[in-house]
Symmetry: C2
Subunit: 341 residues, 2 copies
C-alpha cells in the first residue's frame, strides 16, 4: 500500500464537481501519499483545479467521462445505457486495478447495480449492502443495509450479519461484535416471516448474535452491529437525520427568543458543539458498499465538502485494512463453520 489511488466520481451528488473537486483537493493536501482520478466532464473539473499547486495537481488526474447518471435514473438504465458515465468509468478503474477504491455521491441504486455488475460480489454473498457507523451511547454502532436492498431474504440478512461482524472486528477492532436483528419486538413471534427465519439462522450461526432488537437499541450500545433490510435501515437512518436537524433548529429557535437565552447559549456552546459533533451526519458520511470484490464508498447525495472528505477518508481506511479481502476470508471461514455444523 505504498501509494493508494482513489477513483472519484466527480459528477455525482446534488452539487457534483462544485463539492467533489474542492473536497478532493483538500483531501490531497491532508494525505500527501494519495493520488486521485477525478472522473467526469473535463471542462467542468479543470477550472476547479486551477487553484491547486503543481504538486497536488500532479496527484489529481482527470479521466474523461461523457455521461452522468441522473439521481432519479432507473439503476437498470444507468447500467445498460450509460457505459461512459462518470460513475461507471470510476468503477471500471477499480476493476482494472488502476485504483483501489471508487467514491461516488451519485444515485445509490445505480452505484449498487454497476458495482455489482462490474466488480461482482464476493463468494457466498448474494448482493452487496450499504453499511455505515451510527452514533451510539459510547461510540457508534454499525448498521446495514442502509438502502441498497428494499426486500431481503433471510439468507441475505445472515450475510449482512457476517459482513457487519467483519467490518466491526477488522476495521473497528471490536472483539466478537454483538449482532442484533432489527425487529418490532424482541419476542420470537414478532415481525414477518423473513425476519423470524433470519433470527433462527443467526441463532444457529457462530456469530455473536444477541437476538431481536428494537429501534431504540440502535443507539443504546447494546449491540455493535444492527442487521436490517435496506428499506427499514434507510428510513431509520433518515429518521435520525431528521430528528437531529429538528433538534438543533429547536435550540436555535429557543436561543432567538431572548437575550438571556443568547447568553446561556453562548455559555453552553461547547456542550452543544460536542453534542452536535457526536450527531453530525457529515461525520458519518462515507457508507461502504460491502460484499463486493472491490471497495466502493457511497457518499450522501447532499454531502458538503466536509462530508465528502469523510467519504474519501473511509475509502482510504478500507484500502489500508483490505476490507474486501477480510470479508472474503471470514465469509469462507463462516461457510466452512456452517457446513461443519
Amino acid at each position: 500500500m505504498e501509494h493508494p489511488v482513489l477513483a472519484v466520481d466527480a459528477m455525482g451528488g446534488d452539487a457534483g464537481t462544485a463539492v467533489v473537486v474542492p473536497a478532493a483537493l483538500t483531501f490531497l493536501a491532508n494525505h500527501p501519499r494519495v493520488s486521485l482520478f477525478l472522473v467526469g466532464d473535463r471542462e467542468q473539473i479543470e477550472p476547479l483545479l486551477a487553484s491547486a499547486g503543481a504538486e497536488r495537481r500532479a496527484r489529481a488526474e482527470i479521466v474523461a467521462a461523457s455521461e452522468i447518471v441522473e439521481m432519479d435514473e432507473a439503476p437498470a438504465d444507468a447500467l445498460r445505457k450509460k457505459k461512459d458515465s462518470s460513475m461507471r468509468v470510476a468503477i471500471d478503474l477499480v476493476k482494472a486495478g488502476r485504483a483501489q477504491a471508487c467514491i461516488s455521491a451519485g444515485n445509490t441504486g445505480a452505484l449498487m447495480a454497476i458495482s455489482r455488475f462490474v466488480l461482482k460480489t464476493l463468494p457466498g454473498i448474494d448482493r452487496p449492502a450499504i453499511i455505515s457507523g451510527i452514533p451510539a451511547r459510547d461510540g457508534h454502532t454499525l448498521m446495514l443495509d442502509l438502502g441498497a436492498n428494499s426486500d431481503c431474504s433471510p439468507e441475505q440478512l445472515l450475510q449482512f450479519a457476517v459482513m457487519g461482524t467483519v467490518i466491526a472486528a477488522e476495521l473497528h477492532g471490536i472483539a466478537r461484535p454483538r449482532v442484533g436483528l432489527l425487529n418490532i419486538g424482541t419476542e420470537q413471534n414478532k415481525g414477518n416471516e423473513a425476519i423470524r427465519q433470519a433470527g433462527k439462522m443467526l441463532a444457529r450461526s457462530e456469530l455473536n448474535y444477541v437476538g431481536f432488537i428494537e429501534g431504540n437499541d440502535i443507539m443504546s450500545g447494546r449491540v455493535d452491529v444492527v442487521v436490517t433490510d435496506g428499506f427499514t435501515g434507510n428510513v431509520s437512518l433518515k429518521t435520525m437525520e431528521g430528528l437531529v436537524r429538528m433538534l438543533f433548529q429547536s435550540i436555535r429557535d429557543e436561543v432567538g427568543k431572548s437575550w438571556r437565552q443568547r447568553l446561556v447559549a453562548l455559555a453552553a456552546a461547547p456542550m452543544l458543539r460536542s453534542l452536535q459533533a457526536k450527531l453530525d451526519p457529515r461525520l458519518y458520511n462515507g457508507a461502504s458498499l460491502v460484499g463486493l470484490q472491490g471497495i466502493v464508498i457511497k457518499s450522501h447525495g447532499s454531502a458538503d465538502e466536509i462530508a465528502f472528505r469523510n467519504a474519501l477518508r473511509t475509502a482510504l481506511i478500507e484500502i489500508r485494512k483490505d476490507a474486501p479481502g477480510q470479508i472474503g476470508a471470514l465469509m469462507t471461514r463462516q461457510n466452512v463453520m456452517e457446513d461443519a455444523v
Copy 2:
C-alpha cells in the same frame, strides 16, 4: 356525551396495576364527569383504590377478569384461549356499549387481534392501524401504521392514508392534511412494488397526497400525515425514542464533567426542559387503533403514570370527537368519490 365511560385493562403493560390504577385515580380527579371500569384481578386492584375517597371510588368500578394476556403471547393464542383476559373483557365492555373506549398497555398484537375480532373494522377497512402524533418542526405529524401490520398491501396503505387524513382533519383541525408515503427516496422508481403501487393509488385519490417522503421529512413539517407499513413505522418511532434518550444522556454526561458545565446546565435548564418536553415520548403516549367500530387506545408497554394518563386523555378526546364515526363517514365519502372517478 354526558358521562364518558372508559374500560381500562388494569393488568396490561410491564408494570400492570402498579402504574395503571394510580394513573386512573389521578385521571378521575382531573376529569370529574368520567367513569372507569378497571378490568382485571380484583385482589390486586382493590388495595390500590384504598387511598381514593368515596367520590372517586364510586366512579371506578372493578370488573373481574381471571386471565392476563402475556406481553410475548402469540396474538392468535390470546384471542382463542383467553376469553376471560383483562384485555378481552375490557374490549367486550366497549362492544356491549357499557364503555365508549378501551385503553390497554398490553400486548399490541393481541390487542389488535382481539379488537378486530370483537369490534370489527369499519366498512372498507381491511385491518386497523396504530396512529400517533410524532413531534415535528412546528407541532406534530401523525404517523401510521406504527406496528400493527408488518406487511401491508397497497390498498391497506391507501386506507391508512384515508384514516390519517380523517384523524388530522377532524381531531386536530388541519384543513386538507398533506399526506406523504414513507419511502427510501422521492423518485417514482424507489422502494418496493407495494410502495410504488400505493403511490400511484394515492396520486389518483382525492387526498392531499404530496408524494414519497423520506425518513428525515417525518419531523420536518412538510407533511401532516406519514403513511407507512407497521414494520417501518415501528422501527422509525423507536429509533426516535432511542435517539432522544441517547441525547439527554449525553447532555447529562457532559454536565457531569465540570462545575462550569453544571452552572451552564443550570442556566440552560429552561431551554433543555422545553426541548425535552417537546420530545418526551410520554407526551405522545396513547396511540389509537384506528379503523375499528369502536375506540381502542394502546399505551406504551413501559408507560409510567404520566404516560398512561395521556393514553386515557387520548381516549376521552376520541370519544368527544366520535373518531370511529368520523372515519366511517369519510371512508364512505372517499369510496363514493373513488367509485365516481
